[in-house]
């Protein structure tokens, strides 16, 4: 394979200003139970080659399945053909990069999830599925397992040749209760397919889905008769999972440099942030410290090299509340005047070209202690937990989130349950209200498994490290 990729890049020299190629081989397993029965057991194998060329500032990309020389050569020819057929435009430079050479493995320690029997995985899932059915109002119970292994080899006309092998594993449960026109949902440990890490089977086992299942069922049923979340401006405490998505939507996407520069206007949208805002824009309160760290162990956005062969980095994004940096590629970094790429180019598979994507965009912990400590120091407000719905405008300013559960906070204690909680805000104002972040003991990586971007669409997985945090003067109960 190495020889084929190197030969292909030799062939590209002279025809393109730059070219790179990825060979990707992956295996994915998804197992799901629903209402006490096996709902799906699927295994997917895929292998292919994607060739990317740059001609007169435009990128062309062609993908073909398999790993045969003739197919890869045809993909190079097709990539050149489609690029040349487009209107020509001014070329912009690429930021310099030292060609990547070597190998890297991550998430392969521990037990291979594909070596664990289907029976063992189903036993764990069905036990959790059954344990959620604690109330006749629970209409749907679901438990899921996910495992993914991938080997990707990258070469470029710059002389790069590197190989990475990555493994991921995880799962989760969801109970849905219905009554009249209401549906209420409780998930563990996270909504929308659970919690996944770059790890072996031990990560899934440690989730102990069955042990947490009764609470999910009980809370889903209890929410049906809970009072609605009041519509008011108040203090909001978010759990780490919801805060991870808040960070993802209102910070991570907003600082993708391709969006900032207008390259994603037609689909994902733009950003309220401008390149010149770095160093001056007050993104949030002084307690807000955000980094994009592609080196953190276990993160779904962790790697040794990105899909342009740029080394993984820990980029400061917001320091003491002030915008400091962006997620970038070699092209976008050069357009913004940066000397080097932030190493954030990722592709969802062999048949998609890399885009500027989130790595692990993390909010650093503060000194507010545990979640119990944070609640105890809050006189009045609302605590919200586990994302249920999200929406944000195309410049990443005005957002509206809903969570599965909320509880009243009164005199430093959690009180009654609220159903259908939601909150809304405007990004810098919301983050400006951040006045406490829990400490390291509460900090953990949360997975986002369905981050979409690009045309044709690409869904990637990323992680966000957060600890529960408190925000002042937030509009809640808006939906």
């Amino acid at each position: 394979m190495d020889a084929l990729l190197a030969d292909l890049m030799d062939s590209a020299l002279g025809h393109a200003d730059y070219a790179d190629v990825r060979h990707v081989r992956s295996t994915t397993e998804r197992i799901g139970t629903r209402n006490g029965a096996v709902d799906r057991i699927e295994r997917a194998d895929a292998e292919g080659v994607g060739v990317r060329v740059r001609v007169h500032g435009a990128w062309g990309f062609a993908a073909v399945r398999g790993a045969e020389r003739a197919g890869a050569e045809a993909a190079l020819a097709r990539a050149l053909e489609v690029t040349r057929a487009q209107p020509s435009g001014p070329a912009s430079p690429l930021a310099d990069n030292i060609p990547a050479v070597g190998t890297h493995d991550a998430g392969l320690d521990g037990t291979d999830p594909f070596a664990v029997s289907l029976e063992d995985k189903l036993e764990a899932l069905l036990a959790a599925d059954q344990a959620m059915r604690v109330d006749p109002l629970v209409a749907v119970t679901e438990a899921g397992f996910f495992a993914h292994r991938e080997e990707r080899t990258f070469a470029s006309t710059d002389g790069a040749l590197c190989r990475q092998r990555l493994g991921e594993c995880g799962g989760g449960i969801t109970a849905t209760a219905t009554e009249g026109s209401e549906t209420q949902v409780r998930s563990y440990p996270a909504s929308f397919r659970g919690q996944v890490s770059q790890a072996g089977y031990e990560h899934f086992a440690a989730l102990e889905l069955a042990a947490h299942a009764p609470r999910a069922g009980e809370e889903a049923a209890a929410l049906l008769s809970a009072p609605p979340c009041p519509d008011e401006r108040t203090t909001l405490v978010l759990d780490g999972e919801q805060l991870a998505l808040q960070l993802h939507e209102s910070v991570g996407h907003a600082v993708e440099l391709d969006r900032v520069l207008g390259s994603e206007t037609s689909y994902a949208g733009g950003s309220f942030v401008a390149p010149s805002d770095a160093g001056s824009l007050h993104y949030g309160s002084p307690l807000m410290n955000v980094a994009a760290d592609a080196t953190v162990p276990g993160g779904l956005g962790s790697f040794r090299w990105d899909d342009e062969g740029v080394p993984a980095q820990a980029l400061p994004i917001v320091r003491d509340g002030v915008l400091r940096g962006f997620l970038s590629s070699r092209e976008s970094a050069a357009r913004a005047g940066a000397a080097r790429s932030g190493g954030c180019m990722r592709a969802s598979g062999f048949d998609r070209q890399p885009l500027v994507r989130m790595t692990n965009v993390n909010l650093e912990p503060g000194d507010a202690g545990s979640l119990d400590d944070l609640i105890a120091s809050t006189d009045r407000g609302v605590y919200m937990e586990t994302n249920r719905s999200w929406s944000i405008d195309s410049r990443r300013l005005q957002f509206q989130f809903a969570t599965e559960l909320a509880r009243e906070i009164r005199d430093g204690e959690l009180g009654r349950l609220y159903r259908n909680p939601s909150y809304a805000g405007v990004t810098p104002e919301f983050w400006g209200g951040l006045d406490a972040v829990c400490s390291w003991g509460e900090w953990r990586l949360w997975s986002v498994l369905n981050c979409g971007k690009g045309e044709p669409g690409q869904s990637i997985r990323a992680s966000h490290g957060t600890a529960p945090a408190r925000f002042r003067d937030v509009r809640v109960g808006v939906a």
Partner: protein, 451 residues
């Protein structure tokens, strides 16, 4: 090798006596992106997926590969058999699935040879035409031009041996004015020659360059005129939340227990019509069940939801041919050819005429469900929002957040435009599966905006 031959080879790799379906989906596609009236990323895909679904005592297991050699097909088959057997060994519960029997599918006109050629030259010309048209208005063009050809073949031990070929073409332009205002227009068709890049860009640029000081409206309930793009977005959510047979079976649908009841205004007639003129037709669904028209809401009364084999089994009903995956997709079945019948208004301007003060919405962005059983969704207006005053569009309007029930909006429909057009998808996460909603523009009263 033709996809049906590959499907038959895959089926032959399954041990004798085992119930199975082999599905082959072959995609060839080309997508050209542009920004600031310059090409940015072009993507050409040539891939094929073989999916083997095995049933053991009514329990399904599946495996996929994009390799077609004998060893790969044998491994794929073994994985599917192992999965089904593991499911069958467990205590019985849940719906027992059966492979649909063979049934003849009707021919359609959803394939265009010239589009299937995926000529990058045609795409390049489309970009040039769009750039020139936007420039005449003083705007920059952002967007995509794309064409695709997808061959699908299904072979099963129940006797299905079917194949289908479809093409689709799509172009959209988001025009950006120097003021920062934007405008949107798009077309979808079976054949790329039906796209008019200059007209698309001109319509988008005209919106972006609309004159007048941008107005702001406070949150609250407002009369609206929704362009077909916004209507299609709301109908797509209605499909997944309420018209979905699995949600219906599990009492999660707004239509659970309400078939035969009034759920929308009397002038609302919604169907899934796979051969409606101008739509993207298909011969059969992911289980090989032939596509056929199905009335969903008639004169405002809920008539049916869509089913695949799994939701049909749960409801003691028959599949309506809306499976998205063999054995049923995790999220349930979905209509892929929604048609909302138009009304009596000549066009969008006519719809505006009775509105004293209201909002003209070109499209909605980042829509998501808030309370699924109430079809309550939220999303933001984008790329062409205008203030309607005294029956006319008067000036640009700052974007707002719509948070309302889809069925609630349909219940307050006052009029629809006579003309409908296909609003297609362009996102294509995973394998290309082009669908579209044939929708008119409409006027509705009292639509709720929360920001």
């Amino acid at each position: 090798m033709r996809p049906l031959e590959i499907a038959e080879r895959a089926l032959a790799a399954v041990p004798a006596g085992v119930e199975a379906q082999a599905t082959v989906t072959a995609e060839r596609s080309l997508l050209l992106r542009f920004a600031d009236s310059r090409p940015t990323q072009a993507t050409a895909v040539d891939d094929l997926e073989v999916e083997i679904t095995v049933l053991r005592d009514g329990h399904a297991g599946g495996a996929m590969t994009n390799a077609t050699d004998a060893d790969s097909l044998t491994r794929c088959s073994a994985s599917a058999v192992a999965a089904a057997e593991a499911a069958a060994r467990l205590p019985a519960s849940g719906p027992r699935l059966a492979l649909p029997a063979a049934a003849p599918a009707r021919v359609h006109d959803g394939y265009d040879e010239a589009t299937a050629a995926l000529d990058p030259g045609r795409g390049g010309e489309a970009l040039r035409a769009a750039f020139d048209a936007a420039a005449r208005f003083g705007a920059d063009a952002h967007g995509i031009w794309t064409a695709g050809a997808v061959d699908t073949a299904i072979a099963s031990t129940a006797g299905v041996a079917a194949s289908d070929r479809v093409t689709d073409a799509f172009m959209k332009v988001v025009a950006l004015a120097p003021s920062g205002r934007s405008g949107y227009a798009a077309q979808t068709a079976v054949a790329s020659k039906r796209l008019d890049p200059a007209a698309i860009a001109a319509r988008a640029a005209g919106k972006a360059m609309a004159t007048g000081t941008e107005a702001k409206l406070a949150p609250g309930e407002h009369a609206v005129v929704l362009e077909r793009h916004a209507v299609a977005e709301l109908l797509t959510f209605l499909a997944s939340l309420a018209l979905n047979g699995l949600a219906f079976a599990e009492d999660r649908s707004a239509l659970s227990g309400r078939l035969g009841s009034r759920v929308a205004a009397a002038r609302v007639n919604l169907a899934d019509s796979p051969r409606y003129p101008g739509t993207l037709p298909r011969a059969f669904d992911a289980e090989g069940v032939p596509k056929a028209p199905l009335a969903l809401i008639q004169d405002g009364v809920a008539r049916a939801v869509v089913h695949d084999s799994r939701s049909a089994a749960l409801c003691a009903a028959a599949s309506t041919g809306h499976a998205l995956a063999p054995g049923g997709a995790p999220d349930g079945p979905a209509p892929t050819n929604l048609v909302l019948i138009g009304g009596g208004a000549e066009d969008e301007s006519a719809l505006c005429r009775t509105i004293e003060r209201g909002i003209y919405v070109t499209r909605l962005w980042y829509v998501n469900a808030v309370r699924p059983k109430q079809t309550l969704v939220t999303g933001v207006t984008r790329d062409g929002t205008f203030l309607i005053e005294d029956g006319e569009i008067t000036r640009p309007l700052a974007d707002l957040r719509l948070t309302d029930s889809v069925l609630g909006v349909l219940g307050r429909v006052e009029e629809l435009s006579a003309e409908s057009a296909l609003t297609g998808t362009s996102e294509f996460y995973g394998r290309r599966f082009a669908t579209g909603v044939m929708a008119p523009a409409l006027r509705a009263g009292g639509v709720r905006f929360t920001a």
